[in-house]
């Protein structure tokens, strides 16, 4: 107990903790900073970072710092909504599928196999491309693909637990199916799901930026780290800061979330 509380302290006062604090600070920065992400300053077009302005200006003379903070908000909104939506859907579908067994389980397993037959981000790109750009469609496209990971994990967990003694005891006492699943199975299956959700946040941050990089995500003038990199690639030779800065922010956040996931996995003793 003492050890684990020490570990949680480590999470807050460490590299991942600081980066995540900065990320969340950036998400709410518009509350206390007068951000002007769309303000065009013609004299400063492509101006590199300097002492007066952090991070310089982009190809339209917009401040990169302000756009970076708005991009943090975009990635935060997308990643957390996608992970929450997919975790809820995946856990319910996976638990129900494993508990009920029978033909429904077979159908659900087949559906999951089919979604997994599209490698990586391919299906999400296709869905986002067909639905059209926009924040809502990005969340929808990524959710259509993301629930499968949670469903498979939960299904495996519930399958391994459903014949445990305490479950048989609950069944014998006449406890309802829903209650058994939510009170006696899912609490025990939670640890790996939490770890999966943490890595899911990192994966979704990359996926959202990837879609925006391809021009299928958040539309200009709205800022996302992905479309900032996309804009920057065209001016890479003369203004490398336009590519380097948003990419660095993206990598730091993803790295921090991955390290946090590793840490949580150790703390919760997940395989």
């Amino acid at each position: 107990m003492d050890r684990s509380s020490h570990s949680f302290g480590y999470i807050i006062l460490s590299f991942p903790g600081l980066i995540l604090a900065a990320w969340i600070g950036a998400v709410f920065s518009s509350l206390w900073l007068p951000l002007q992400p769309d303000q065009i300053h013609l004299p400063f077009i492509l101006k590199p970072p300097g002492s007066a302005v952090w991070f310089g200006f982009d190809d339209l003379g917009r401040p990169v710092f302000d756009r970076l903070l708005v991009g943090a908000k975009t990635s935060f909104i997308v990643s957390f909504s996608v992970v929450i939506v997919t975790a809820v859907i995946g856990v319910v579908v996976g638990a129900y599928s494993a508990w009920r067994d029978g033909w429904l389980d077979h159908v659900i397993v087949r559906v999951m196999d089919i979604v997994l037959a599209f490698p990586g981000i391919l299906l999400a790109i296709a869905l986002a491309g067909m639905l059209g750009p926009g924040l809502g469609n990005v969340i929808m496209a990524l959710s259509c693909v993301g629930w499968v990971g949670f469903a498979r994990l939960t299904r495996a967990q519930v399958l391994s637990l459903k014949h445990a003694d305490h479950v048989s005891a609950a069944l014998a006492l006449g406890v309802s199916d829903t209650r058994i699943v939510f009170k006696h199975l899912l609490p025990l299956a939670m640890a790996p799901i939490i770890v999966e959700a943490t890595f899911g946040v990192a994966g979704t941050v990359i996926a959202e930026a990837g879609l925006s990089f391809l021009g299928l995500g958040v539309q200009p003038p709205a800022a996302s780290w992905g479309n900032m990199i996309r804009d920057g690639v065209r001016y890479m030779l003369i203004a490398p800061h336009m590519v380097v800065i948003p990419g660095l922010a993206l990598c730091l956040v993803v790295l921090a979330v991955n390290l946090l996931g590793d840490r949580i996995r150790d703390i919760l003793h997940v395989r």
Partner: protein
């Protein structure tokens, strides 16, 4: 083995059928009328009519699906409305590009990952281990669409060694392959390390050491061959994942492959071509995965005789 083969192939067929149906429905996700989205508002009624016919969008859904399947069986995917050429021709032109890129990326990934994984496992908890695993974590956290431009900056602009994009010279494959290969190497190195660590703690390794074999003999004759099995599965899965990753990497470097064709088709609203690309990429993935499973079972009798 025959029973295993049949069951594996039949489940692959079911998945492939599911993939075909999902891609069929993709075009129905387009908000509003797909024909209007493709042609724009100033379209001539005659063009509209022609496209409606070509896509069979005037028919009920089951009829559309049957036309789609019928054409697919005859390797007819229709014409690209942008290129005005049969889609099968376009795909045939682009497939070798993606194949070459995937093979080169796989090669680079192995060259990077095998030594890294081995060193990390042999000298566990040493500085080398930390460096190798640090590289691995970094590689997993850096997305291709940032790594690619960074490599371009480094190799092409600052060092001036390589062409930036396109497929002009033989060297032009190097940067996209390095980009794809690095992210794959990150995952493979980690996997090799954990497999080797487990193997090195086995009794037969202790025996090999006890009878006086050198470190290299133990590694190459006793440890690595046993690490090959999980590696084959992982490489098969990763090769498929490369196809997904290639979509973004090809776009960055304008590499003439299926992925670049796919993204271009989305941006130009060439929906039939989008469907065809999704279908070809995912079916290749299904085929590679099935082949990997069969190969694995062929090598390891425990799999095919077991369940």
């Amino acid at each position: 083995m025959i029973a295993f083969l049949l069951s594996r192939l039949s489940s692959a067929l079911v998945v492939a059928a599911g993939v075909v149906i999902v891609t069929f429905f993709l075009v129905h996700l387009v908000p509003g009328d797909p024909i209007d989205m493709m042609l724009g508002e100033s379209a001539l009624p005659a063009d509209r009519e022609r496209l409606l016919q070509a896509y069979h969008l005037d028919k009920p859904l089951p009829v559309q699906l049957s036309y789609y399947l019928y054409d697919l069986i005859h390797f007819d995917m229709g014409d690209s409305i942008v290129a005005r050429r049969p889609i099968t021709d376009l795909l045939a032109e682009r497939l070798p590009g993606t194949g070459k890129l995937a093979a080169a990326a796989l090669l680079i990934a192995m060259i990077l990952a095998v030594p890294l994984g081995c060193i990390a496992a042999i000298r566990q908890h040493s500085l080398w281990d930390r460096l190798a695993m640090g590289f691995s974590l970094l590689g997993m956290s850096i997305p291709n669409f940032w790594l690619g431009p960074l490599f371009m900056l480094l190799f092409a602009f600052w060092l001036g060694w390589l062409p930036v994009s396109g497929s002009a010279g033989a060297l032009s494959i190097f940067l996209p392959a390095l980009t794809l290969g690095t992210s794959m190497a990150a995952i493979v190195a980690r996997m090799i390390r954990s497999t080797l660590v487990e193997i090195l703690s086995q009794a037969y390794i202790r025996t090999a050491r006890a009878k006086g074999l050198t470190g290299n003999q133990v590694l190459f004759r006793h440890a690595l061959p046993n690490a090959m099995l999980p590696l084959i599965t992982l490489v098969g899965l990763q090769l498929g994942a490369l196809l997904g990753g290639a979509v973004i990497t090809e776009t960055i470097f304008s590499w003439p492959g299926i992925g670049e064709l796919f993204v271009d088709a989305i941006l130009k609203r060439d929906y039939a071509l989008v469907q065809a690309c999704v279908l070809v990429i995912s079916l290749s993935y299904v085929i590679i995965n099935t082949f990997t499973d069969i190969l694995y079972a062929w090598i390891d009798p425990r799999i095919r005789l077991g369940t």
